[in-house]
Amino acid sequence: MTKENYEFIQGNIACAKGAAYAGCSFFGGYPITPSTEIAEFMAEWLPKNGGKFIQMEDEIASIGSIIGASLTGSKSMTSTSGPGFSLMQELIGYGCIAEVPIVVVNIMRGGPSTGLPTSPAQSDLLQAKWGTHGDHPTIALVPNSVEEMFTETVRAFNLAEYFRTPVIVLGDEIIGHMRERIRIPDPGEIEIINRTVPNSDGLCPLPYASDGYKPACLPNFGKSRFHVTGLNHDDSGFPTMDPEIVARENERIIRKVYTQRNLVDKFEAIHCEDAKILMLAVGSAARAAEESALELRKKGVKAGLFRPITLWPFPKEEFAKYALNADFIVVPEMNLGQLKTVAERFTKRNKIIPVNLVNGEPLGPETIISAISHLNI
């Protein structure tokens, strides 16, 4: 009988262990609080396990290096926080248009700019979607526990490899630095997905050819000679300005994710079916929201929590369905209303009660409860 493997670890370490579990073999990063523990773990773990770690000169170099490494076949990642995430935006877009799998972990902190390096915030929920210029697909996952820091990082790699696109993991300083006891899954327990590559060696004339809205099937450098560029390109990978091809490819890279939402969507719906007070929250704010919803339930209030785990693409259909039945949508978040702007698109605005905290303190259930105490419930 195998002994189950429990560890009492920090969220950041769980994230790094999840990357290791997924087969990450390259990390290029730059230290930034509160994410640095991830880099430090990888610096130690990777060379012991045949992987490569490099501390690059800045965040832009970090994401550049992981895209380069990924093109040779390595599963690669970087980790950062808000200011570094802002710096990485251009090359996140590069990864999207060039269809290169990478994982970018952002352990969010108070902003804007230098903000509060050691304090939590949910400052980049919208930046994760809209930070990089141009139209692009976005997959962003928001763990709310140490266990999810592990499992969602594994899932991030799987999604990146399958869809051939950057995947963002949005932690925050609380989730990153808190410690919880988790069970490390056995090898093989969680399915690991690897990118498909064409079988041919030598010349690869159409690395970006795809059937319908499928991901392209690029070979790895060293196996086949082909061209990769950040310019709009056709299925040969070479630049084009042909309006029909540009439009087609711009749409394809977005639809390749949005036509397979079933593979990306993930959320948690707690007591949502009959909820009259529906909370909408992610990450550490969702833990407070869950507790306050359960407390309200004890008092006889029909409260529930809708928690997107995949934040982008936003699970709009499920959310809208529950929101329709609710009288109020309470949106607690550690920013000044980013998730609220998303909720506004899928429900009546006058139902929404934002609960915003940007003082660097964790958002607790008492804050949520007192914010809705005026309601006649």
Binding site: S25, F26, G28, P47, K48, N49, G50, K52, I54, M56, E57, D58, I60, A61, S62, I63, G64, S65, I66, I67, G68, A69, S70, L71, T72, G73, S74, S76, E90, L91, Y94, D201, G202, L203, F221, G222, K223, S224, R225, F226, H227, V228, T229, G230, L231, F238, P239
Partner: protein
């Protein structure tokens, strides 16, 4: 006759560079130097940033990567570290390598990672219409220095050697056989190699400074008439060297290369298993 077609994506020619642009001359020199190495095309990765010179990889039949402005060396570092057996060559303009890419330039030099960087140094941002760059000469009129450039310029050789590159050479787009030798040496050198190639952009730079530079052909002849070998330059004063292009190998030293050094760590901590 040298058979370039082995290395060319013929269907992509003619290339986009202007008539008489030095980039084509330097590209041919690079291809001849690559051929001399005997490397297989599958083992070569050509990485570039953004700019006229950065369009080069699209024309060459090997693994080619056209990245974002200034970031070629970052991508190249990831490629080389992840797969050290690949031969990684970076081609970059002066703006791409030294302005926006300046930080990656000095750190690649410092790391002494086995990548060869060729700087297509024509002292201008050509692709965007001729704005001044970190290597534009003093007083030159450009699109963003209409009254004459007031900024001092980098000496790429000094910058590279100061930052730790272990092979540094300068050639010109006129002195082509010599350039072949420098590029080949750089490719074969184990460590970070920088070859600074003095070139000219008549279209966006020369034309705005006709009194100084003349025609496109004059700009090539300028390189012919003003290049001084490093040996000869040693015995000349600063005034005598003004406006001269000192060519030669400035630095060629052996130093443990970055990926080799990292591999030693892997070997020691992984018990040699990986």
């Amino acid at each position: 006759m040298f058979d370039y077609s082995k290395y060319l994506r013929n269907e992509k020619l003619p290339h986009i560079w202007c008539p008489g642009c030095g980039h084509g001359i330097v590209m041919k020199s690079l291809l001849r130097a690559i051929d001399k190495t005997g490397w297989s095309k599958d083992e070569i990765v050509l990485v570039s940033g953004i700019g006229c010179a950065s369009r080069l990889p699209g024309y060459v039949d090997c693994n080619t990567l056209h990245t974002a402005h200034g970031r070629a060396l970052a991508f190249a570092t990831g490629i080389k570290l992840a797969k050290p057996k690949m031969h990684v060559i970076v081609v970059s303009g002066d703006g791409d390598a030294l302005a926006i890419g300046g930080n990656h330039f000095i750190h690649a030099c410092r790391r002494n990672i086995d990548i060869t960087l060729i700087v297509f140094n024509n002292g201008i941002y050509g692709m965007t219409g001729g704005q001044y760059s970190p290597t534009t000469a003093d007083g030159d009129k450009t699109a963003t220095s209409p009254y004459g450039n007031v900024e001092p310029h980098f000496d790429v050789v000094d910058l590279a050697t100061g930052a730790g590159a272990t092979f540094v050479a300068r050639g010109t787009s006129y002195h082509v056989p010599q350039l072949d030798t420098y590029i080949h040496k750089g490719l074969m050198h184990k460590g970070f190699s920088v070859i600074d190639v003095t070139e000219a952009c008549y279209t966006t730079h020369g034309r705005k400074n006709k009194k100084k530079y003349g025609s496109n052909l004059d700009m090539l002849k300028y390189q012919k008439d003003n290049a001084i070998s490093i040996e000869k330059a040693g015995g000349m004063s600063e005034e005598e060297l003004a406006g001269k292009i000192v060519t030669g190998v400035f630095c060629d030293k052996e130093k443990l290369e970055f990926t080799d050094k990292y591999q030693k760590i892997i070997d020691s901590v992984s018990g040699g298993a990986k």
